[in-house]
Symmetry: C2
Subunit: 202 residues, 2 copies
């Protein structure tokens, strides 16, 4: 189990500040996606920021039953378990299944650094996001899935090309975007087909 | 003026997605602060994530008149102007004054990529944060100021040492933390004095 960053006494705020210092490690978790321009891989902390601001920017399209503030909070939290469990690409189905127990343990350790009521609140929000059943979690998952697709469409298909991804994999793994946001999917589908014609997807 | 990332047609979502692709550049704006462990400088996108999740983690200390959702939104937005204007350390008073007009122009260009009502909403929220007068903006500024102090306290004073910062500069520039969050300041002050004894601050 990774070591916890030592922290200082901040009275009743000590645990929350210890949590904040520990999750600095998310800035060092590398994703397959690169920043636009392809100078380097993006990390899961900056991806979480990008996802959260996507929620705020696309709020008018979320639907009336979505609480965009909870979606933003899910974005901020959703990848923290990767500090212990690592990032696994959405198309690597075997690795994603294998990592599930590690993510549960990671949530317990990392959110467990917080005092109550935040410990329970953060854990429940992360679990709701993972389950993907509530309207808030579904919109959050649409954004989390859409961000790397949008990045690749503006980045010459970078992570698709580097990982030999096929168009049919992208279509099969993202049916939930089509179900939840048909208008967004209509445009994504057209651009994905164009990407295949350009050789960015097999 | 920096070029805008070319974007694709997404129907009524086109402008919001163009904005999201353009602000990917915040991931390449370097701060003086390094990630814990000091392998590299942190960038303003991952700092914005860290600040936003600090707001969520420290929400119980915000005070009853603070809307933590608006603080989180300020965190997500507050540094976007740095894409055009660059990051200036809080202790570089001359540079901070000089950059003000550039930040106004940057807000106009970058938030101007969005359609209404987001354009006006993002601009007004950024301006409120900059003005630092509302309770939400004040709590947001406390967190934005506290994060690099907390990072330095857990990172052997890295950006203070590298920039020859004196304890009296940190005290003079952060009186607003003392005014707004006296309990947090009490602990920070003690740790800052310890940091000077260790030679991390002059």
């Amino acid at each position: 189990m990774p070591s916890v960053v030592p922290t200082l006494d901040f009275g009743s705020m000590t645990q929350a500040i210890q949590f904040l210092m520990e999750i600095d490690k998310l800035k060092s978790v590398q994703r397959r996606t690169k920043v636009l321009g392809r100078q380097r891989q993006e990390n899961s902390a900056e991806h979480s920021w990008h996802f959260a601001i996507a929620a705020l920017s696309l709020a008018p399209y979320a639907g009336e039953n979505v609480d965009i503030q909870r979606v933003i909070q899910m974005a901020l939290l959703h990848d923290i378990v990767e500090i212990d469990a690592g990032d696994v690409m959405v198309y690597d189905l075997a690795a994603r299944a294998a990592i599930h127990d590690q993510e549960i343990a990671a949530a317990k350790r990392l959110f467990g650094l917080l005092p109550e009521p935040q410990r329970e609140y953060f854990t429940a929000l992360w679990q709701e996001y993972e389950d993907g059943e509530s309207a808030d979690a579904r919109f959050a998952q649409v954004l989390d899935r859409s961000m790397p697709i949008l990045m690749n469409l503006h980045n010459e298909g970078q992570s698709w090309v580097e990982n030999d991804i096929r168009l049919e994999q992208v279509l099969a793994r993202n049916t939930m975007i089509a179900d939840t946001q048909p208008e967004l999917w209509k445009h994504l589908l057209q651009h994905l087909q164009d990407a295949q014609r350009k050789g960015w997807l097999k």
